[in-house]
Symmetry: C2
Subunit: 400 residues, 2 copies
C-alpha cells in the first residue's frame, strides 16, 4: 500500500518516523507493506531522510493511481479541505489529525468517502494518541451513551495543574506554558476553549449521530479562573478542569458545552494532570469508563494517525456515522448544575434572599456553593444581585 503524507510538520514527521520504525510490525499484521511514496509540503527538507520523497505539488498525488491512502496533517480548513476533498473524490482514503476540518466539514467528507467506497478516519483529531473514537464507535456503541466528558486540551490542563501546584496566577502559568512550548504565542484557541469545542463536537457526533457546529456550543475558557478560586477548590478537595461535555438527559435533552468545572477528588477525571488528556464515557450498561493518555505531541499523535492507516491496510476500517444537526442542541439556559459563586457588595442576608439556601465556604471572600440551578436561574439571580449593588466575582459549575 503506497501512501502520501500532506504536511511535514510535527505530526507529519512523527507519522513518517512511525511508519518507518514499526514497518515490520505493521506488515506482519496488516499483511501488506505500507510505503511512503510522497510527502507534500511547500517547504523543502534537504537534510531529511525522506528528502527524496518530498514534493510540492498535490496534484501529483491526486493523479497517482498507486496512492490509495492520503494522510492529511496540514491543519486548518482551507487548503486541507481542498486536498482532502480531491483525494476522496479520486477514491483515496484519507486519515487525519485535523479537528478543525472534521468539525467543520466532517459530514460532507464522510459522505464523499462512503459514496466513493473509501474511508475518512480521524482518531488523531481527539485526545492525541488515546484510542477514543474507535472504542466509542466499535466497543461501546451498543450502550446508550449518556455522557462523554473530557479533558481535551493539554495546554489548559497544564496551566490549571500549575495554578494548583504552585499557586500561580493564570497569567504566570500561561507564561510558563509558553516558555515550555506547551502554549502558543497566541494561546486564544486553547485558553478560550475553542480547541476543546471542536473536539467535543466530534465526540458528541460519534455519540449521538449528529454533528453540532462548534460555534453553536456554549464555550467558556479558563482566563477568568483566579488564584483565589484555586485556593477555594483545594479547601473543598476539588480540582478545576476545563471540560468538553456531551450530555443526554433521561428526558432526551442533549447538551454540549465547554467550561471549567470543579471536580471532586473521587472523579476519575480529577487526577489527570499536566498535558495529559482523559475522556470519560458513560453508557447505560457499562457505567463510567475512562480513556487516558497523552493528548498531543509528535509520537502519540502519530500513533493515532497510524492506527487509522493500519485499520485501512488490514481492511478493518469503520465508518464514523453522523449527519449535520438540524438545530442547536437543547437551549443551554436549561443546563442544571450546582455552582461555586463569589460575590462582592452583598451581605449574608441579601445572598440568602437571592440565592436561597447556600453552603458558605471558609474563605476571605464571600464564597459559597449553591443548590442545583439552571443557567437561566443563575443569570436571573446575578441580575437581582446587581440591582442590589452587588456583583458576581467568580462562577464555576460543579461536575457531577
Amino acid at each position: 500500500m503506497k501512501v502520501a503524507i500532506l504536511g511535514f510538520g510535527t505530526v507529519g514527521s512523527g507519522t513518517a518516523e512511525m511508519l518507518t520504525k514499526n514497518r515490520a510490525l505493521l506488515k506482519a499484521h496488516a499483511g501488506e507493506e505500507v510505503e511512503i511514496k510522497y510527502i507534500v509540503d511547500i517547504r523543502s527538507f534537504p537534510d531529511s531522510p525522506f528528502a527524496d520523497r518530498i514534493i510540492n505539488d498535490f496534484s501529483v498525488v491526486e493523479k497517482d493511481d498507486e496512492i490509495s491512502l492520503v494522510i492529511e496533517v496540514i491543519g486548518g480548513a482551507k487548503i486541507a479541505y481542498d486536498f482532502t476533498k480531491r483525494a476522496l473524490l479520486a477514491g483515496k482514503s484519507v486519515v487525519t489529525s485535523n479537528k478543525e476540518l472534521v468539525a467543520t466539514h466532517g459530514v460532507e467528507l464522510l459522505s464523499i468517502a462512503k459514496e466513493k467506497g473509501c474511508y475518512y478516519l480521524f482518531e488523531a483529531a481527539v485526545g492525541g494518541g488515546i484510542p477514543v473514537l474507535s472504542p466509542i464507535a466499535n466497543d461501546l456503541s451498543h450502550n446508550e451513551i449518556l455522557e462523554v466528558s473530557g479533558i481535551l486540551n493539554g495546554t489548559t490542563n497544564y496551566i490549571l495543574t500549575r495554578m494548583f501546584s504552585s499557586g500561580a496566577s493564570f497569567e504566570a502559568a500561561l507564561a510558563e506554558a509558553q516558555a515550555k512550548g506547551y502554549a502558543e504565542a497566541d494561546p486564544t484557541a486553547d485558553v478560550e476553549g475553542h480547541d476543546a469545542a471542536r473536539k467535543i463536537a466530534i465526540l458528541g457526533a460519534l455519540a449521538s449521530g449528529k454533528l453540532v457546529s462548534a460555534d453553536a456550543i456554549h464555550t467558556e475558557g479558563i482566563r477568568a479562573i483566579r488564584a483565589e478560586d484555586v485556593k477555594a477548590a483545594e479547601k473543598i478537595g476539588c480540582s478545576i478542569k476545563l471540560l468538553g461535555r456531551y450530555l443526554r438527559t433521561e428526558s432526551g435533552d442533549m447538551f454540549l458545552l465547554v467550561a471549567p468545572f470543579l471536580l471532586p477528588a473521587d472523579s476519575p477525571l480529577s487526577g489527570i494532570s499536566d498535558v495529559y488528556n482523559g475522556v470519560l464515557v458513560r453508557g447505560n450498561f457499562v457505567g463510567d469508563v475512562m480513556f487516558y493518555g497523552r493528548g498531543a505531541g509528535s509520537e502519540p499523535t502519530a500513533s493515532a494517525v497510524v492506527a487509522d492507516v493500519d485499520k485501512i491496510a488490514r481492511k478493518a476500517a469503520y465508518r464514523p456515522a453522523f449527519t449535520a444537526a438540524e438545530d442547536v442542541p437543547t437551549e443551554f439556559s436549561y443546563f442544571r448544575a450546582r455552582r461555586y459563586v463569589v460575590v462582592e457588595g452583598a451581605d449574608a442576608a441579601a445572598i440568602e434572599i437571592i440565592f436561597g439556601e447556600t453552603e458558605p465556604l471558609a474563605s476571605e471572600e464571600n464564597a459559597f456553593l449553591t443548590a442545583e440551578m439552571s443557567e437561566k436561574g443563575f443569570s436571573e439571580r446575578a441580575k437581582r444581585l446587581e440591582a442590589c449593588g452587588g456583583k458576581i466575582v467568580s462562577h464555576i459549575r460543579l461536575y457531577r
Copy 2:
C-alpha cells in the same frame, strides 16, 4: 441472529437484560436483530421473564442450526470447556466472560474457531466492562507493546483501598469486603492473586502473541500487607496496588508477574480505588495510555459480553491471535525493581553491609527503600540477613 446463553447467573441475566433493553440500538447498527432463543441452565427460573426460553439440555443448542452464536457465562474450565468446544465445532461463534477457560484452553479454542470460520471472543474475561482487549488488538497493535500493567481484581483493590482509608488490617478489610458481597466466602482466588494471574496471562498473550500458563506466572497476593506497610506507603506518598504486569525489556526479555507494588501518586494507576479496575498499556509511540472502569458486576460485564456479540452481528469481529508459549517467560529471578523492605534483628551497620546504600524511612520499624536490584540479588541478601540472625518482615516492590 438467534443466540443461546449458557448459564443464567449474574452475568447471564445481565446479558439477557442488555440484549432486551438495548435491542433497538443493537438492531439499528448491526442491521440485524439479536434474539435470545435459549437460556441453558441446570436450574429452572419459573418467575423469570425469560422462563419460556430456559432449557436444561445443551445438545438442543448444539443441534439447532438457527443458533449462530453462543454466550458462555458458566465459568470454570470443565463443563464450559465441553460446551464451548462443541459449539465451535458445530460452527457457532462463542462469546465469553470465562477467564479461566481462556487462560487454560484459549489457544485450542481460538484454533477451532479459525478452522470452522467462526469466532471466539472474550472481552468480558478481563477488566469487566472496560474495553481493553479490543483496543489492544485493534487500536494499539501497530505499536510495539512494551508493558501492560493492570489493577485487574476489584476485590483486592477494595481491600487495599479500605486499608488506606481506614487504617484497617488486611483481615478486617477482607471481612468488610465479604460483608458487602465484594469478596467470596473463600477469597483465595482473589487475595492470593490467581484471578489476576489468569487475566494478565490473557493480556500478555494479546500483547506478545504467546499465551503463558497462569501457573507459570510468579504470583503473590496481598495477605502479607500489614497496616504498618500502609502507613509507611502513605508517608512517602504512595499507594499499594495488586498489579498484574507484562513487561518486555529493551533486550527482548519478557516478564509476567502478579504482586503488590508501591505506586507513586503521579502514576495513573495509583488513584484507582474501590472495586474499579485500570489497565495501563505502554507502546513505543503512543507512550502510556490507560483504560479505566468497573471491573466486575452484572451490567458492566454484560456490556463487554454484548460488545463482542455486537461485533459478530455486524461482521466486525477480530481474531485474537496467540499460540502457546513454548517455555516460561524470562526467569523471574532477573526481574529488577527498587524495594521497600522492613527488617528485624539487624542494626544500621548490618543493613548497610548487606543491602548497600539504602533510603531509610521515618518509621517505628526498621524500614528502608533499596536501590534497584534483581529478585536473585534480593533473595541472596535476605539469606545473608538470616545468617546474621535478622529477618525480612515485609517486602514490596516499587512500580516504575
